[in-house]
């Protein structure tokens, strides 16, 4: 199907992604989101030992795309404990599940804000780990949202194209 719809650029949806991060981070994970300045973000990134990544593909009748995010493994562990009210660290499968659910909620919340009348099918999240170190996965992508959640760095990026318009 050909389409006259325009792609949604990462730059134009940064504010919406930020709103989604605030909603999900604060309501579900009882965290505090700071839409950090570059300098603050860079300082937080320098302390990261291990990154975790997640990807959620989505498809609607007129548009499809992908949301990607990266966060430190240490932050993911803290978030899992807050999410489930755990007194001790969760298991590795629980951590993977929680990161995927976090990305899923970000994606669903963003899509609902951006396209409030359209439903989308979301694929099962794909969660992975990236090379240890302070380099942010996905940061090479165009205009990711860079923020701090509980003073630790989170990067979120989205790609959304018209069906048949890639």
């Amino acid at each position: 199907m050909s389409s006259t719809l325009s792609p949604v650029t990462p730059t134009e949806c940064r504010d919406e992604l930020a709103a989604a991060l605030v909603a999900v981070g604060e309501q579900s994970f009882f965290g505090y989101v700071n839409l950090a300045a570059d300098k603050e973000f860079a300082a937080a990134v320098a302390t990261v030992h291990q990154w975790m990544t997640a990807q959620v593909d989505f498809r609607g009748t007129q548009r499809s795309g992908r949301l990607q995010m990266a966060l430190p493994a240490a932050l993911a562990g803290d978030m899992l404990e807050a999410f489930l009210g755990l007194a001790e660290p969760g298991t590795a499968p629980e951590l993977t599940d929680m990161i995927g659910e976090f990305a899923n909620m970000l994606c669903g919340h963003w899509l609902t804000q951006r396209f409030p009348t359209t439903s989308f099918a979301l694929a099962r999240p794909v969660v992975g780990s990236d090379e240890p170190g302070p380099q942010v996965p996905w940061v090479a992508a165009a205009a990711p949202l860079l923020a701090l959640l509980n003073e630790q760095p989170v990067a979120v990026w989205v790609e959304c194209l018209p069906e048949g318009g890639a």
């Binding site: 999410f83 629980e94 909620m105 919340h109 439903s119 694929a123």
Partner: protein
């Protein structure tokens, strides 16, 4: 699938269908914060498992996600409607998708509450309060 008894034993039976075990655990945790007598909380990882549990147990409330493998929440609700075996089942969707299209679809499938993730514990309290009045 698992069954987790929660006192008091005379309480109602709830069923949570979500492919994320962590999300099911979080929903159970929130339910536990609300002062409503719950007998058992059943869990299903997809719609097919949920359907099997509905056949085996007297479930008062179904909480279901939409995007699940094997059988989606929408397919599950369609099958419940098609069979017509559970006319008093309170149907609740818990999903990240809050679009009007999805909500209209839910209305047509007799969904009583639609909770968009993330949701506050107060939203769950409203659902369970309705359950209590439903049971009276």
């Amino acid at each position: 699938m698992s069954e987790v008894p929660v006192p008091p034993a005379q309480g109602l039976t709830l069923l949570i269908a979500d492919d994320s075990a962590v999300m099911r655990a979080m929903i159970k945790r929130v339910i536990g914060m609300v002062d409503v007598p719950i007998g058992a909380i059943l869990e299903a990882g997809d719609g097919k498992q949920a359907l099997a549990l509905l056949e085996q147990h007297d479930v008062a409330v179904l909480f279901t996600d939409i995007n699940m493998p094997e059988m989606t929440g929408t397919e599950l609700l369609c099958e419940i409607e098609r069979r017509g075996c559970w006319p008093h089942l309170l149907r609740v969707i818990i999903s990240t998708d809050g679009s009007s299209a999805r909500r209209e679809e839910a209305d047509a499938l007799k969904v009583r509450f639609y909770l968009q993730k993330p949701f506050r514990p107060e939203a769950m309290r409203d659902v369970l309060d309705a359950l209590t009045s439903h049971a009276d």
